[in-house]
Assembly symmetry: C2
Homo-oligomer: 144 residues x 2
């Protein structure tokens, strides 16, 4: 971790309007140092090396705070429980980042090509699942 990174974090917090704390700074630095898609538990393990007394709940709260403030994204909006897709037609999802509502949109209406093909990496693509993240009409009205 560098002084530059700490200053960067302070600037981000200033913009987001959240106070800087030692715990927050460490969680931020740990996240920046990690690769892939870590779980809160994994973040907690690493943060504990530097702050042994930290609580898992604090890690959760600050990860949520970072996500709300736009410092990080979550890998995919997860619903807290398994959900079954009952619409058998090819479609994608409009996900409102504000109210978390999920609306179907026919694949044709989105105009993203869906065809099985092999990517450069060797991955065999069979299906695209697209989440269009944004604001639903209702939330557009009720926001500044």
């Amino acid at each position: 971790m560098t002084v530059a990174e700490a200053n960067e974090f302070r600037a981000l917090c200033d913009t987001a309007g959240i106070p800087v704390t030692h715990q927050r700074l460490v969680i931020y630095q740990v996240l920046r140092s990690m690769h892939g898609h870590p779980s809160p538990e994994e973040v907690y393990e690493r943060v504990r090396v530097r702050i042994p007394a930290i609580s898992l709940a604090t890690v959760y709260k600050n990860i949520h705070l970072f996500i709300e403030s736009g410092l990080f994204h979550e890998v995919s909006l997860h619903h807290g429980s398994l959900r079954v897709e009952t619409n058998a037609l090819p479609h994608h999802h409009l996900v409102c980042t504000e109210c978390k509502s999920i609306t179907d949109i026919a694949a044709d209406d989105l105009g993203i090509p869906v065809r099985a093909h092999r990517l450069r990496s060797g991955f065999l693509a069979q299906r695209y699942a697209v989440d269009v993240l944004g604001l639903c009409p209702d939330c557009q009205k009720s926001l500044p």
Copy 2:
């Protein structure tokens, strides 16, 4: 529920190589009759109307079975826990349906346009999160 639907289900089970049971048939019919993205709990509530003695665990097991067999999809491959995106560059995900691995792919390499715009439905699209579902190189080798 119709006789045709029951026969359709028998045919699907036959193809998938899973035995037909009364519970399975009812869960299938209930799913077919529902709209949107129901949770196992919601499915359970409806199935109980017809089979009061059914267990929630049975509903879970069969929903998973249906998903594995391809009769239904889950709304989004979710990890069972919150995951933080540590890659700050615009990218999407290659999700292997076999081993569940998630690999990043740069947005440019996928060639899907990402621009904020308003859809016909009035939804304000700000960002696309694309899951490319398919088979990773390893799983392609180890499958028939």
